[in-house]
Every structure is written in C-alpha cells, then in structure tokens.
Amino acid sequence: MPRSVWKGPFVDGFLLNKAEAARASTRNEIIKIWSRRSTILPQFVGLTFGVYNGKKFIPVQVSENMVGHKFGEFSPTRTFTGHSSDKKAKRG
C-alpha cells in the first residue's frame, strides 16, 4: 500500500540542512548520509551524496529522473562484481 499523498514525501530533517549547506557552498563536496530511507527531492538534483551501504559510502550523483526514489536504491548492500569487458563509463 503506498504512502498517503497528504503526508508528502518522507525526508530526514538533517538531510535538508546538509543539502542546503552544500548548495550554498561552491566547493567540490560530497554529503555523507546514513539515511537510505529518505526520498530524493527536486532540490537535491545536481548534488553528490555518499550513501552508506553498511560498509562504505557509495557516491550517488542525483539527477532529475531519480526524484521520488529513495537514496538506498542507489547504494546496494550486496556485492556483485562482473567483468569489465567492453563496458564503458561516462564522465558526469
């Protein structure tokens, strides 16, 4: 059953403060967070978070199509290592 619309999206309060501080800063910063349950809001777009997966902080660059998802979705807690083969990485 989905969350009631009248409640709005859930976000931990301290995370909003950190995002605001990052927005105000012009430096190259990463926001370390443990709150995997928080929803990604439009004001987080363009910021980079380090989302804890129980062992390390996985870098998550927030883009527009991630809005509405939870941070934890982008920081897997189980290890899967494939082969690099012909796979490519795009520099953001």
Binding site: G13, I30, I31, Q61, S85
Partner: protein
C-alpha cells in the same frame, strides 16, 4: 593500448553431442562477443572462431563432437583491445581506466584504480586501499584522464560539515 587483451567471455559446458557449447558472454551486449573476433585463450596460443546460436549456445570452428567440446569447458576468451570501437566523447572503457594511477594535482599518489562501478547514479572509481576510496567519476573530481600517461588527476571531494545544533540526528 596496442597488444592489450581483454576478457570477453568464457566457454561453458558442452550441449548435445554435436560439439555445441554454452557460452558465457561478459560484453554489454552478449551477442557482441562475436564481433570482437578472433578470440584467443588466456596465453594467446589458441584461436577460436565462434558462431553464435540461440539461447546462449555457440559452435566453435573445428569442434564437432561432445568430447572435444568438453575439453574447452572453462576456457576464457580474450579479444584484442584494438578491436573495440572508439568510445564517444567523455566515455571510457572500464578496461582502459582500471589500473591507472590516481594522482593529486600536486602529483601525490592516491593509489591505483581497482574498479569502476555504476549502480544507476553515475559511475564512480574505486581506488585500492587501505583506505579504499570511492570517487565520483565527474569532471569536478577527475578533471584529467590521461590514458597515454597511465594516470588520472583527482581532486578529492571534501565532506560537507554542518554546524553543530543544526542537525536533528546523525
């Protein structure tokens, strides 16, 4: 990059009695493995020409019975790096990035790139530790990728600090 070979697949168990084998392709598009031929074994001494069939099966040229196919089980298939098409702008093959030295702007060493991962929120570099470092693969953090020089220049991001009292929880 000349002479560099990359692992693109592995021959699995035999299928049937006519020399077909299961093929495990590690390429982004599994069918692309046949485009990178000729494929060789790990030490480059033997060459394999593959004909891809449906459902992950393949026929290896010169292999016509089950016993010969069974002898190939576990063979890792390598392709020449030069056979891969050139990547687009700002795109890099993982095989090219892995193993590069990460350096600061001042020239200090930060370690070797041990893996490049992407879990749907942008690629990031894993520098071997200790301590292991995870760095977003962005222009701000990795301004220079010098494949010929075997290095990347990294500007490690700082951790955001919020003044005490403004946080509700940690």
């Amino acid at each position: 990059m000349t002479g560099k070979r990359i692992l693109v697949g592995e021959i699995g168990r035999p299928h049937g009695v006519r020399g077909l084998v299961k093929l495990r392709s590690f390429t982004a598009d599994p069918a692309a493995i046949a485009d990178y031929g000729p494929l060789t074994n790990e030490d480059g001494t033997r060459r394999y020409d593959l004909i891809l069939l449906a459902e992950g099966l393949a026929r290896v040229e010169g292999v016509a019975d089950r016993d010969a196919a069974a002898r190939l089980t576990g063979t890792r298939l390598y392709a020449e790096r030069d056979r891969l098409p050139p990547p687009e702008e700002e795109e890099y093959y993982l095989a090219d990035l892995i193993g590069l030295r990460a350096e600061t702007e001042a020239g200090g060493s930060l370690g070797i790139i041990h893996a490049v991962e992407d879990h749907g929120a942008g690629a990031f570099l894993v520098l071997e530790g200790p301590p292991e470092r995870l760095l977003p693969f962005t222009r701000a953090v990795v301004p220079v990728v010098d494949l010929a020089g075997g290095r990347v220049v990294v500007v490690p991001p700082e951790e955001i600090v919020v003044p005490p009292g403004s946080e509700d929880a940690a």
